[in-house]
Amino acid sequence: MSATATHHKESVRVDYLNVAHSIKSWLVTEDHKRIGILYLVTISLMFLVGGIFALLIRLELVTPAGDLVMSDTYNKMFTMHGVIMIFFFLIPSIPAVLGNFCLPLMIGARDVAFPRLNLASWYIFTLGALFGVASLVMGGVDTGWTFYTPYSSSFSHTPVIMAVTGAFIAGFGSIFTGLNFIVTIHKMRAPGLTWFRLPLFVWGHYATSLIMILGTPVVAITLLLVAVERGLRIGIFDPALGGDPVLFQHLFWFYSHPAVYIMILPGMGVVSELIATFSRKRIFGYEFVAFSSLAIAILSFVVWGHHMFVSGQSMYLSMVFSVLTTLVAIPSAVKIFNWAVTMHKGHVKLDSPMLYALAFMGLFTIGGLTGLFLSAMAVDIHLHDTYFVVAHFHYVMVGGAIVAFLGGLHYWWPKMTGRMYPEPWAKLSALVIFIGFNLTFFPQFILGYLGMPRRYHTYPDEWQVLNVLSSAGATILAAGFTLVAVYLIWSLKNGAKAPANPWDATGLEWQTPSPPPPTNFTHRPVVTEEAYNYPIVLAKNGEGEHQEEEKRTHEHA
């Protein structure tokens, strides 16, 4: 469909945003696009709360002495930061916002398979988030986001039950999202859209859903048991009740290691889309990238013991887990390699989403490689529970997952809102975020290597320089995020009207107007070609490119 054709009808065209305006129409909507937006609002608020705690933590750590807050308060700050960021922001971020919005569009469906369940998942998630906020209002929890027993179940004097109930409830939101995605991908694809014609974003979400379905119930029952142990003293984890706290760690990490891939796999899906679009090439080794998502999801279930090397877990089992952990690096590396090859000889355009994709590749590589260091048992004995681990997971979760989220948000923003954002500002903030991020977290690798433990609010004087650097970086990072929020919100009213396909991308979501009509497509699309079927360009500045340009101008005329 050409951009001009839509332009004529613009004044009368009904889209999913202008079809109804009342608040109620949003609260009872079953439209996957609107539900995606609802999720975006909720998680952005949670990100704000979690971010404030991050800044407070960094503020405290500017000086070696514990002068801003008491150690108890500090414990609560890092716990609430972790709980909110992981359970209420990062896990739902890409799947529930971008996945919800794009997945049905990408497969040419009118909606997900179970629209009402989809809405329910948002309500459930929001209820869980409210419980999380309630635990905050009640004074905050101090167990660490990992809720280790018996501290959480028997000793902590903070509203642990409230917080674990929140995570428990939110978990069902994520189960329902995963269930919906799997059935949708299996059953709702447009005619001709075979598995190997699917965008890699869809493959990534399929793999993510696998973890949501198979992992989340286990953490749900585990958290429920912690709440019961705490509330009724029916315990199976507290040694004082005859239980084994290490069992808690097994059950917790059986989910929570795979959960880190709930955060990163959809991000990898986003990055695949970005790299293909902005290199104007089919992803090199498409099948490998597709299957590596599944491989990561499956392997992620057999490595959890790497969080327990010093917990009293059997040394022999630790060896098994150590070896298995290194295997996860293989499919991850396959992706990085294939993206790099895709860009090679491609026509790389450095629009802001692509900047995020490039940042992702660099930062995720660092995060993954340091993960490999940690998977070596002997090294981990030294680095466990130090700032090295903190830096490692922030490189994958912020440098990887959040950067991918921002890249995807920018990429699909025109589709979601019908407006373009100001590109120069977007480029600037991408740069600010990249610099701020590295300045915040790179010094933490060194601090951890030097032995600075995590979760303490004081430290010896000689580590102050690196800590100040880190805190300075956090300020820059926060400025970067704020900038993004400001111009995105600004663009809602003031941005230029977005054409149907601003990036000249393939993919069904770009063949419907921006923003899409309530039922996505006027006619059911029929797919006849593979994903990312960009015209082949023969030589730089050669005939081929010329032809391509011509074709494009023709389309726009």
Binding site: I182, P217, I221, L232, I234, L241, G242
Partner: protein, 218 residues
């Protein structure tokens, strides 16, 4: 595809009734998979403590009456049969039969809960509910280890009981819906899904019964 589904209403997101049926049954199976893993954590805990505290578990299980557990097993199996017949009646479009068979299932589920109630209250009376009042005196057996048996007993049968209750509520809602829509072709999809759920509840009990009532080594 059989002809039965063609005259059912189709949701706007679906192309046809067959796609809709496929999607719903796949969705339900996926849900049951999550249930398997949900209970799975508890089963794992059971295995670990059962092998660790073998003697205490054997001693503690004598406090449970295997006859009541056996009775409940028979009750649940029968209710699975009646539920299967309800689903069958729905597929062949007999709304009165569906309600009839579901009523049987409901009554059997009620019996199960009543038996459970008596079992639970007996445990409370004998100070066998875990917690500060727990008392278990048996020569050579650590009462803390025995308490773990009851921890797991209450956690697992309690969770299972909650599933039975949810099933019973679902059946009431379905029966009302069937009655209200009695002039149309029976919408068998919800009945089928409720059936799958109910069989799963039965399935969990099939494992719980020997694990708690027949620990062995009498």
């Amino acid at each position: 595809m059989s002809t039965h589904e063609t005259d059912l209403p189709v949701g706007h997101q679906f192309e046809d009734a067959e796609q809709q049926l496929d999607a719903y049954s796949a969705g339900m199976w996926l849900f049951l998979v999550t249930e398997v893993l949900f209970f799975g954590g508890l089963f794992l805990a059971y295995i670990i403590y059962r092998t660790r505290y073998t003697e205490a578990f054997v001693a503690a299980h004598h406090e449970l009456d295997w006859r009541l557990g056996g009775l409940n097993t028979l009750v649940l199996i029968t209710s699975s049969l009646t539920m299967a017949l309800a689903v069958r009646a729905a597929v062949i479009d007999r709304w009165k039969q569906v309600i009839g068979w579901m009523a049987c299932t409901f009554v059997l589920a009620g019996c199960f809960m009543v038996v459970k109630y008596f079992e639970y209250s007996a445990k409370f009376e004998h100070h066998l509910f875990p917690g500060p009042n727990f008392q278990f005196h048996h020569p050579g057996i650590d009462s803390g280890e025995a308490q773990m048996f009851f921890n797991l007993y209450f956690a697992m049968t309690g969770l299972h009981g909650a599933h039975v209750l949810i099933g019973m509520i679902t059946m009431i809602i379905l029966a009302i819906r069937l009655y209200v829509m009695r002039n149309q072709r029976v919408d068998f999809i919800p009945v089928e899904l409720a059936g799958l759920y109910w069989h799963f509840v039965d399935l969990v009990w099939i494992f719980l019964f020997p694990l708690f009532y027949l620990v062995g080594g009498n």
